[in-house]
Amino acid sequence: MDRNAAILSVEDVSLHFGANAALSGVSFDVRPGEIRAIIGPNGAGKTSILNCISGFYRPQQGRILFKGQHDLTQTPTDSIAALGLARTFQNIALYTGLSTLDNLMAARHIHMKQNMLQSMLYWGAAQREEVRHRQVVEEIIDFLEIAHIRKAVVGALPYGLRKRVELGRALAMQPDLLLLDEPMAGMNLEEKEDMARFILDIYERRGVTIVLIEHDMGLVMDISDRVVVLDFGRVIADGPPDAIKQDEKVIQAYLGEAN
């Protein structure tokens, strides 16, 4: 349990909106190369903690260290991507007017160097850069099996495919840490299994560390290495899936009804 080895450590984070406490003294860490699940009943603060990590919410107390040195609570939101962090959203935040391809290309923004004038002239270096990044993006398109919708406008795609494109967009950022907010919500069994396979592939073949919020208990217990359980903005349990399943407090708060 070397704290310095953690890629992300959330330390005593508290967030409140007026008198409502969304998070109270939440602490947990994520080690490189693991799938870390965050579970909890509705309103427990799962998405709030993800929003704190990705810089949308600024917690009133505590800090969030990324790679041991960057305090994400103090980093401008638009600088977090370049540190190597990407996320997906519970209710899909794609660029609906762009094609699948352009959505993924847009994620290459932080890796591209061309300036405004080069973009306008689209000559030489700028064009070569576009082609180079197109190759990276095409590889991800192949990996996620979305080649057939490459040029389809994303707004018109069905829900399951949009979820997959959003995962692709996050991958195209080539992050070291990937935050997935309910990647399987609202999917049928087959789509869920596809998504689980993609997540495991990302983790195994690309070596990306993953933080996952998910409601499907069976799936969470199957694929995650460690689970942290939130309830009313507090951590009530933290440990490997087997220990979590036995935990009295967790069963009372959450699993009791579910299983």
Partner: protein
């Protein structure tokens, strides 16, 4: 935009796939189109050439608005005022500094771009209707300044100064038939620039702000910087269009328009042609300008058919016809998948189209 192609016909490289003009029929269309446009002054009537000239520089202004409103999703009601800045700048640098015409147009664009940056600053804090209000300030401040500041240079309350005829390589572009080529050349250059913006890193960053500014921020796009870039580009193009208009009309100032109504009509043209598409400015401007003629001709025809209600027909037919055709235009535009209008922009778009119709009365 997946167009169906014959089997066995495929791109062999990403360069090919990403090219703008890539099919033989597209090349053919481009060549024929260019030939028609280039030869128009030789066979067209003076009226046609003059109208085409107006259409050309208006398209440039609407292209600028398209970058800002269509791509970046920031509504501006000050495009005509920015054209005024461009017109004055070009007039002053050619008259007093003796700059050659192409350089003067470029300087006009850059100067207007800087003014646009200034009025783009509120976009950091406000969106939608409230930003429209902020740009409305530009639309009132700039023409007011042109009438009250530096009366010796800007013409004071007379609201106009004379603009010299451009002379290039010893050729004087006093005739519309020649000036036409200047506007056309500028339009070709701006079209290339806008096409490139829309298919590269810059354009994707702009559209990502329009479609989801929260996600854009998380993907590393600095919202403020890119909104300012959009404002700069929009006013740059407005400046170029304004310079072309000023030299074409041989004068610039509030006497020649540049009011709020014109700004709204520019927005209306963009909405009609299609927000956020590269073809939009071309379709919108051409449709609005040519429809005016079509409405006039149809109105006259009908009044000959029904002489009893002739006077009433001539008065009321044009706006009715115009409104009807624009509604059809919009319905078919809206039915097509494309970038949707944000809720708070829909109202502004409708208002802009209403202004275009009202202008016909």
């Amino acid at each position: 935009m997946a167009a169906l192609r014959p089997a066995g016909d495929f791109d062999r490289s990403y360069e090919q796939d990403m090219a703008v003009v890539r099919r033989p029929w597209q090349w053919a269309g481009l060549v024929v189109g260019l030939l028609v446009v280039l030869s128009a002054p030789l066979w067209g009537s003076a009226y046609l050439v003059g109208t085409a000239n107006t259409i050309f520089y208006t398209i440039i202004a609407v292209q600028g608005l398209n970058v800002l409103t269509g791509y970046t999703g920031q509504i501006s009601l000050g495009q005509a005022a920015f054209m005024l800045v461009g017109g004055y700048t070009s007039a002053l640098v050619t008259t007093h500094l003796g700059l050659p015409f192409p350089l003067a147009v470029l300087v006009a664009g850059l100067a207007t771009g800087l003014v646009g940056l200034l009025f783009g600053l509120p976009s950091l804090r406000v969106k939608g209707f409230y930003l429209a209000m902020a740009t409305l300030a530009a639309q009132f401040i700039i023409p007011w300044l042109s009438r009250h500041a530096f009366p010796d240079l800007l013409g004071g309350t007379s609201g106009r100064i004379d603009v010299p005829v451009p002379v290039l390589l010893g050729v004087s572009f006093s005739e519309q038939r020649l000036y036409y080529y200047l506007s056309l050349a500028a339009l070709i250059v701006t079209t290339l620039l806008v096409l490139n913006i829309s298919r590269s890193r810059l354009g994707r960053a702009l559209v990502s702000i329009r479609d989801n500014d929260l996600a854009a921020e998380l993907l590393g796009v600095n919202l403020f910087q890119y909104k300012l870039r959009a404002f700069f580009l929009a006013s740059f193009l407005a400046g170029v269009a304004g310079a072309l208009k000023a030299h074409s009309q041989r004068g610039v100032g509030t006497e020649f328009g540049y009011g709020l109504e014109e700004s709204i009509i520019l927005l209306g043209m963009l909405v009609i042609g299609g927000l956020g598409t590269n073809l939009g400015p071309f379709l919108g401007v051409t449709a609005v300008v040519l429809l005016q003629d079509l409405a006039r001709v149809t109105g006259q025809f009908l009044s000959e058919l029904f002489p009893a209600i002739q006077s009433r027909l001539l008065n009321s037919f044009r706006p009715i016809f115009f409104g009807l055709v624009l509604m059809i235009f919009l319905i078919f535009r809206v039915a097509r998948p494309g970038p949707p209008l944000a809720d708070d922009q829909g109202g502004v778009a409708v208002a802009a189209v209403c202004a275009v119709i009202r202008n016909q009365e």
